[in-house]
């Protein structure tokens, strides 16, 4: 058939030789500079923290199952929701998306051998465990109890030790994410394989550019705020303490200047992942590539100028309220573009209902609910009523759980075969999806009504008129807690004994699927080759694609022979 297969050298290669040396398990516990090892380190570490944060969430919901504060008690309740939020944001969603998926996928997708700064990358990862340890230690002493927003003056009087541990933990985590942000920005702009223009990149990489820009610009401002808060706490200054002439509202501005962009840091990579996953399993090109790519940048820009919409009731001057309302509403446009483009991607496809696809479609469905409640929150007069109520809790969980976590699950199911070389069990994947989807909606849907009817957030005890809906919500939370079990066992079992995946089990076209599963140290055998665009579904015949695959395999064998030749 091809000239290659007539190559006499090839005949002598036994299939076993092409088999890859997989990473020995202990490599994942070392200071490895391989972006794939680091990516998996991030994912496993953060998943552990997700379980811890989830346990805290379950405790919080157990407390709220009845109107009286009879499970955790008042003080411990505040500690529990504070640490829950902090873990979920700083030790799960941000590092899992940016550190985990970003690390694993970006170099593979742009055809690079590794990140621009591999050692820095490892340093950034190894800051995560101490971040978590500091936070968990604070739970054992006196937990920080001023909420993850940690507004002064409350944060200055509710326990010095826990608060300071919280600050140190966030500063460490923040530094880690700035370093990662710098690394991604440089990697994507400078390390793309020759011939790959920005507009040839998979959309995940666009999302990661936007994410890194936000990280680089916004995170340092949070660090500044926390340094000042630390001085107030320990040295007796009064930056945010009105007793000494300081202004607590300045903290709120600095805090939200980071923490609103942080919301986009937590959702933009998911947008990117969904833009990868939907086309593969719908067997269709992504609809409106450029619109999706540029809308990420638009969201990045707008995300930096909307922070004060968290402060509509903070005594913010009128002109600010109006400006931030308009800017916030404007974000609906690029976000809408993405959602409609995803729907158009599904339209006319041949959808394969894999677990990854179920979570991907679940993401679109749930994220839209969060987006719509976000529209209500953006309007000043409407926000004045619902601000700091359970409506906000519902909204943020639809965005961060229904959005980010569904997206992470979709990503895990989708790239698990690439990362481990083995398939996850689809049956248990579906069980996992149904449990998560049902539990999630039972848990968070009623909260919309609770907030609108008058239940404030962050309360251990509440008006008995809200008892029924809270009880339903708690049942949902328990289902949600249970729903992680099938995933956990599925992942562990499949990693050890799952069906072998092969290079490209989903017949996907982006670059990471052209190498082996898991990929070798330098990612590609020989040089990466762009045979197709990342979304060229339906434009090549099956025969052509099979031919490409066989050619890649042949090239790989040749490359392997090249590397082995000097030794033999």
């Amino acid at each position: 058939m091809t000239q290659l297969q007539e190559n006499p050298n090839l005949a002598s290669i036994s299939p076993a030789k092409i088999e890859l040396p997989s990473e020995p398990w202990w490599r994942f516990f070392t200071f490895s500079t391989d972006h794939k090892v680091i990516g998996i380190q991030y994912l496993v570490t953060t998943f552990f923290f997700y379980l811890v944060g989830g346990a805290l969430a379950t405790a919080v919901r157990a407390e709220l199952a009845t109107p009286e504060a009879d499970f955790l008690g008042f003080e411990r309740y505040n500690g529990a929701f504070t640490v829950h939020a902090t873990i979920m944001i700083f030790l799960w969603i941000v590092p899992a998306l940016v550190g985990g998926f970003g690390n694993y996928l970006v170099p593979l997708m742009i055809g690079a051998r590794d990140m621009a700064f591999p050692k820095l990358n490892a340093v950034a990862f190894w800051m995560i465990p101490p971040t978590g340890i500091l936070l968990l230690v604070s739970l054992l002493t006196e937990a920080p109890a001023a909420g993850w927003t940690s507004y002064p003056p409350l944060s200055l009087i509710s326990g010095k030790v826990g608060e300071e541990l919280w600050i140190l933990s966030i500063l460490l985590g923040g530094t880690s994410s700035i370093l990662a942000g710098v690394n991604f920005f440089v990697t994507i702009l400078k390390m793309r394989m020759p011939g790959m223009k920005l507009e040839d990149m998979p959309l995940f990489c666009w999302a990661m550019i936007a994410t890194s820009v936000l990280t680089i610009i916004a995170t340092p401002v949070l660090a500044g705020a926390l340094i000042l808060l630390s001085f107030d706490l320990l040295a007796g200054t009064a930056f945010f303490n009105p007793t000494g002439g300081g202004d607590p509202v300045v903290y709120q501005h600095m805090f939200w200047f980071y923490s609103h962009p942080a919301v986009y840091i937590m959702i933009l990579p998911v947008f990117g992942m969904i833009s990868e996953i939907l086309p593969v399993h719908a067997r269709k090109p992504i609809f409106a590539y450029k619109a999706i790519a540029y809308s990420s940048l638009a969201i990045c820009f707008l995300g930096l100028i909307v922070w004060a919409h968290h402060m509509f009731t903070s005594g913010t001057p009128d002109w600010m309220r109006v400006f931030f309302m308009i800017a916030t509403m404007a974000i609906a446009v690029p976000t809408g573009i993405k959602v409609f483009s995803w729907l158009a991607t599904l339209w006319g496809g041949k959808i394969r209902f894999t677990s990854a696809m179920l979570f991907g479609m679940g993401f679109v469905s749930m994220f839209v609910v969060g987006g719509l409640s976000g529209i209500i929150l953006s309007s000043v007069p409407l926000d004045i009523h619902v601000h700091d109520t359970y409506f906000v809790v519902a909204h943020l969980h639809y965005v961060l759980f229904g959005g980010s976590v569904f997206g992470i699950y979709a990503g895990l199911y989708h790239w698990f075969p690439k990362m481990t070389g083995r398939m996850m069990n689809e049956f248990w994947g579906r069980i996992h999806f149904v449990l998560t989807f049902v539990g999630f909606n039972i848990c968070f849907l009623p909260m919309h009504k609770l907030g609108l009817m008058g239940m404030p957030r962050r309360v251990a005890q509440y008006d008995p008129q809200f008892a029924d809906l809270n009880w339903i919500s708690s049942v949902g939370a328990f289902i949600l807690a249970i729903s992680t079990l099938p995933f956990l066992f599925n992942a562990i079992y499949s990693w050890v004994a799952g069906r072998k995946a092969g290079d490209n089990p989903w017949e996907a076209l982006s670059l990471e699927w052209t190498t082996t599963s898991p990929p070798p140290h330098q990612n590609f055998y020989g040089d990466p080759i762009l045979l197709t665009g990342p979304y060229d579904y339906g434009t090549h015949s099956k025969e052509t694609l099979d031919y490409f695959a066989s050619q890649l395999k042949t090239l790989r064998e040749l490359a392997l022979m090249d590397t082995e030749a000097p030794h033999s």
């Binding site: 008042f74 409350l154 009105p242 009128d318 599904l346 339209w347 839209v368 309007s379 007069p381 409407l382």
Partner: protein, 321 residues
């Protein structure tokens, strides 16, 4: 596209519209309303819910339809239609949300102005002149405006009939009526009178929220914030603290009573009588609070030179008897 398809599409569109409008009016998501600005909120909220329901149904409908119609059939290993863009469609779904957002922005602005009356909550209240001008420019706007301004039964916006000083502290509200010097732990307000609350906190941030009024304002130590409204329904309403203020944040509440003017007057008299000598209702002597320390520093900036001071004198003299 066949005629049948067109008919089906139109029918779906009509059904969607009906469903959205119906839900926008019948969502039962809000408590009763009791301030005269609350109907403005409700009407904006209902319109927003109508639009949101429409978008929700469209998105979920397309998702479910695609899941069924475009599922992979058994034995079909092929790819879908390689269509990767449609400029017209993209323009439509950029422009339509933009228009909706523009509408919502303008409507929100109008409602906000009407509810808030241009009272700058962050610091001082505007002067009466500026207020009157803003109010008139607001009325001069588009006559087809969806939210008919409610006729304010109380005084002019920015010129309240009653001012109440509100102090938030862990974990209680204290209300002071400067005219009578009355200090109370529950808030009584006369029906249909314009009320302004001058609020500050003694220790940490709190937020004053009355769900039935649809109004909320953070109460912040070291600065004075304001709320202005006209209670329009008699009754008893909860005052909820909506900003985390410590472990017992959930317990921090209060009652708000909207009374007839007569009932309000007699309540005030009763309270003043009850607050004579040995009443321990005023155990919270202001000297024991950190408030006075920073209040002094902030008073100048806030432009409320003497109010707080005289208040304290009244407050103090009453408690000391």
């Amino acid at each position: 596209m066949s005629a049948l398809n067109n008919i089906i599409l139109v029918a779906i569109g009509i059904l969607l519209t009906i469903a959205s409008i119906w839900y926008g009016q019948n969502h039962h998501l809000l408590p009763a309303s009791a301030a005269d600005s609350a109907p403005l909120f409700d009407s904006l909220f209902n319109s927003t819910i109508t639009i949101a329901t429409g978008i929700f149904l469209i998105v979920q409908g397309v998702l479910i339809y695609s899941a069924i119609r475009y599922r992979k059939r058994r034995g079909d290993e092929g790819d879908g239609d390689p269509n990767h863009g449609n400029v017209l469609l993209e323009i439509v779904w950029t422009a339509v949300p933009a228009v909706i957002i523009l509408w919502l922005g303008v409507a929100s602005l109008d409602v906000y102005q009407a509810i808030n009356g241009g009272v700058d909550v962050g610091g001082h209240a505007h002067s009466g002149m500026a207020m009157a001008m803003e109010a008139s420019s607001y009325e001069a706007e588009d006559p087809s405006y969806a939210y008919t301004p409610v006729v304010v039964s109380g005084g002019e916006v920015g010129q309240p009939d009653l001012v109440v000083q509100v102090q938030g502290m862990q974990y209680a509200w204290v209300f002071t009526y400067p005219e009578s010097g009355l200090v109370a732990s529950e808030l009584h307000l006369p029906l249909n009178k314009r009320v302004r609350l001058d609020m500050t906190a003694l220790d940490v941030n709190h937020a004053f929220w009355v769900p039935q009024f649809r109004l909320k304002q953070d109460v912040i130590p070291g600065r004075e914030t304001h709320l202005e409204f006209v209670p329009s329904e008699l009754g008893e309403y909860p005052i909820v603290c909506a900003e985390l203020c410590g472990p017992y944040h959930g317990v921090m509440g209060g009652q708000l009573f909207v009374d007839t003017p007569e009932a309000f007057a007699s309540w005030q008299e009763e309270q003043i009588l009850a607050a004579r000598p040995d009443s321990n209702a005023l155990a919270l002597a202001p000297e024991t609070q950190p408030e006075s320390a920073f209040a002094k520093a902030q008073r100048h900036r806030l432009g409320i030179p003497d109010d707080v001071h005289t208040l304290h004198r009244q407050f103090g003299s009453q408690s000391s008897g």
